[in-house]
């Protein structure tokens, strides 16, 4: 099962995990990203590239399935207006064993940050600003090129 969704609506983490638990594996791992209230951030707007976003996320899910023996991958990203404390992204993996599920989950969130066309604009009481990409995120994504997989 590969499930890729880009949507403005919130999602139900319990329902997403239950779907992965139903794939017949013995291990499910997940990552949920939450909008932080860093430096007075009250809200943010998520822009994306419709069409390419779904294509890039599906390609990442397929790459993970080649590298690890996965029976389920869920990639879910919200777009539009979000407030501090809101869920923004969910990555879930299912496999027979924990190592594959955990590693694939880490791989997917690291690479999603550098490969998928999303842009965050932060809103503060004193103005709006586009988030700058971080070199540490590039380094985390590149670390998966060095044969960290099973």
């Amino acid at each position: 099962m590969i499930s890729v969704r880009v949507q403005p609506e919130d999602f139900d983490v319990g329902a997403e995990l239950a779907a992965l638990e139903g794939q017949g594996g013995g291990a499910v791992a997940s990552f949920t990203g939450i909008v932080r209230a860093d430096d007075g951030v009250e809200a943010m707007t998520l822009e994306h590239y419709p069409g390419m976003t779904e294509k890039a996320l599906t390609a990442l899910a397929n790459e993970a399935k080649v590298r690890w023996p996965l029976c389920g991958v869920t990639l879910l990203h919200r777009v539009g207006a979000l407030r501090a404390g809101d869920r923004i992204v969910f990555v879930g993996t299912a496999s027979d064993h924990r190592a594959a599920a955990l590693e694939a989950c880490a791989f997917l969130i690291d690479r999603l940050k550098t490969d998928a066309p999303f842009w965050k604009k932060e809103h503060r009481s004193n103005g709006d600003s586009w988030v700058e990409a971080r070199a540490t995120d590039d380094a985390a994504a590149r670390s998966w090129e060095k044969g960290k997989a099973l």
């Binding site: 069409g51 294509k55 998928a116 066309p117 999303f118 842009w119 965050k120 604009k121 700058e132």
Partner: protein
């Protein structure tokens, strides 16, 4: 040849539109050539494309270097480095 150009995030804001269609001028072989040609329009285009090192691009929805061959692409997108997740 007709080419759809898409702009995202602050590139879109500076240019003032999200998309436009152009007839590709002769001599434009790469996204970098196109970025410099767009910058020469001045105004918001100069602000968006004045420093191409800050830009990333996708050809037909695949991320490529600014020095890639435009070849027969139907759609090109210019945007800042991505910040999802």
């Amino acid at each position: 040849m007709a080419l759809d150009i898409l702009y995202f995030a602050w590139v879109r804001e500076r240019v003032g539109v999200g998309a436009e269609r152009i007839d590709l001028p002769a001599g434009i072989a790469t996204p970098l050539d196109l970025a410099l040609w767009l910058a020469a329009r001045g105004g918001g285009y100069a602000e968006a494309f004045g420093d191409p090192s800050r830009l990333r691009c996708a050809l037909d929805q695949d991320i490529v270097p600014l020095t890639a061959d435009l070849a027969n692409a139907a759609e090109i997108a210019f945007f800042p480095p991505v910040t999802g997740g």
